[in-house]
Symmetry: C2
Subunit: 329 residues, 2 copies
Amino acid sequence: MTSIKDVAKAAGVSTATVSRVLAKNSPIKPETRDRVLKAISDLNYRPNLIARSLRVQKSAKIGLVVSDIRNPFFTAIGRAVEDAAYEQGYSVLMCNTDEDPDKEELYLNLLYDENVAGVIFSPTHQFDIHSQTYNQKMPFVVIDRAIESNDVDMVLLDNVAAAYELTEHLISNGYKKIAGLFGDASTTGQERSRGFHKALKDHQLNPVAAHFISPRIQQGYETTMNLLSQPNRPDAIFTSNSLLTAGAYQAARDSKLKVPNDVAIVGFDETTWGALVDPPITVLAQPTEEIGRTATELLFQRIQEPSRSPKTVILKGSLIARGSSVKGK
Amino acid sequence: MTSIKDVAKAAGVSTATVSRVLAKNSPIKPETRDRVLKAISDLNYRPNLIARSLRVQKSAKIGLVVSDIRNPFFTAIGRAVEDAAYEQGYSVLMCNTDEDPDKEELYLNLLYDENVAGVIFSPTHQFDIHSQTYNQKMPFVVIDRAIESNDVDMVLLDNVAAAYELTEHLISNGYKKIAGLFGDASTTGQERSRGFHKALKDHQLNPVAAHFISPRIQQGYETTMNLLSQPNRPDAIFTSNSLLTAGAYQAARDSKLKVPNDVAIVGFDETTWGALVDPPITVLAQPTEEIGRTATELLFQRIQEPSRSPKTVILKGSLIARGSSVKGK
DNA sequence: ACGAATAATGTAATCGTTTACACTACCGCC
DNA sequence: GGCGGTAGTGTAAACGATTACATTATTCGT
C-alpha cells in the first residue's frame, strides 16, 4: 500500500512535511501544500490509522459496551451515540456483553488495547469499578445503571421519579390493587421499585404484590399468571422492563381478562409493538436519544479534561398514556 | 505502560524471546519460558495489539456492517456472528450504515484501515462492489442482499421459495384476493415479489395488487389503508418486511376489519411482538442464527485461503403459521 | 543593514511489536 | 573428528506514522 514515504517522494518533500500538511496546524508554504495534496490524491493515499495510533497513543474511536444488544433500548442508544460521535469525527465500536461479566472484562480490555479515546457502557450487576481501576485507565461514562462510585461520569434516568409517575398514573385512573414486577439484573429494578412503593404509600395504598424476577418474557408471564389466578387478584400490573411487560400482557390475555377494564398493564420503554397491540400499552418512555447524546458529550468533555470533576446527569422519562391503563380510551 | 522490553529485562532475555514465548510456535527452553511467563504475570504485561497489528498487518477483529441496527433481524445476526467469532478468538466491530452509502463507504474504509481480518456486511442498494475493488482489499462476505458479482461469498435466504411458501399458505387457507407489499430498498423485496407472483400463477390466481414501497411502518399503514378501503378489497395482505407488516396490521385494525376473517396478514421475520398481538402473526422466519454463523465460517475460510473459489450459501426460511392467517385458529 | 524573530522544511528518534538473519551449542552419524 | 542438522537465543530492521530538534530562509523593526 502507499505510505507517507511514497507521497513524500512524489511531492519532493520529507515525510515530516506531508504529515504537517495533514495535521493542518503547522505553517506550510501554499505551493508545497498544493504539491503534497496533489501527490496524496494522485496516489490515492490514506494515512494508516494503526501507525498513527501507535505513535500518538490514542485514536478517534470510542467504545460502546452494552449489556444486551437485542434490547431496543440499547440499540436506540447506539444510534444516538453513533450520531453524536460522528459529528466529532469519531467512530463507534459497539460490543455486546450479554450480561456476562467475563465478556464485559474481555471487551473493556480489548477496547483499552485498541487505544480507544473512551468508553460508554452499561455495567453488569457484578461489575466492580475498583477491581481493575478501569476509570484510571481510560475515560469512562456509565449509562443506565448506577454504580457505587462517586468519581465516574454517569447518565441515568430518574428511575424513582419515573416509577412514581407511572404508578400515580395508575392510581389516578382508579386502580387500587396494584402489583409490581421488577427486574433483578440491575439497579434500575430496585430504584423503580422504590418509586413504586413511595407512590402507593403517598396515596395510602398497599401493594398487592411486588416481585423481583429475572427480566425475561417467560418469568413475567408466569408471575403474572400466578397473580391473576388468585382470588383477590390485582387490577393493575406495573412492570419495570419491556420484556416483563410483554410477558404480563400475554398472561393477561391468556387469563381471559380484559385490558384495561379487568386489569391494567404499564411498563417502561417505548417499543415497536407497544403502540401496536390492542389495547396499546401505556409506557414510561426513556429519552434514548438524549441519553446517548449526553453520554457522548460527557465522554468528550472528559477526554479533553481528564481531571474534571465527575458529573452525574439524571434525565426524566416521559409518560405515554395509552389504552392499557385508561378505561374509557 | 509495561512493554515487551520491560518483560525482557525482568526475565533477562531479549524481546525476541519474549515474543516467541507468546507466539507458542518456536522452540524455547522450558526454563526460560517459565522465567518469561513469570515476568509477564509479575508485571501484569499485556501485549500491545496496535503495535502487533502494525507489524503483522492484520488483527484478530472482524467487521460487521449492517444497514439498520434497529432491525431485530440484524441484531440477531450480530449476536450470532459475535458468538461464532468469539469461538475463534476474534472480536467483532459492529457498524451501522442506516442505508446511507456515504456511511457505508466510511465504515468499510475505516475497517480496512483498522486492519480487520475481514468484513461481513449487508450492502445498501447503491453499493457497487466494482467501484472500489473492495473484495480485493480484504476478505468479504455479503449477507441478506445479493449483489451482481460472482466472485464474492454470500449468505442469502431463498427469498423466492420463502415467498412462494408463504403465499401458498395463504392460498391453501382459502384466501384468493391477495395483495403484496414489498420493500423497495433492497433486492430482497424484488425476489420475494417473484415468489409471490409465481405462487399465485401456479394456482391460477391474479394478485389484487402489488406495491413496491419504502420499508417503513407509515408506508405500510397508508398503502394498506388504501387497499382496504377499496370496493373490491383484498382478503389477504402479504408483506415482505416486518415494518410493513406492522403498518399493515395497524391499518387492518383501524379499518375495523377482523383478522383473519376479513383479512389475513402475513410477513417476514420473527419479532418480539409477532406472537404477542391478537391474533398473532403468521411469519416466514429467517434462520438468523444460522445466517450469522455461516457467514462467519465462510469469512474465516476465506481468510485462511484467500483464493478459494467463492461460495454462495442459500438458506431456507421456516413458516410459522399463526392466527393472522388461519381462520379457525 | 543587522540581529531577532518567525516561517518553512528536513533529520532522525520513537511508539511496541514481529521476524529474518546470524550465531552458538549440542547431538547424531559416518 | 568433522559435518549437517536443530535447538535456543540475540541483534536489528522493519511496520507507518508523529514530532522534538536542527537548520535554513525570510521578514521586520530600528
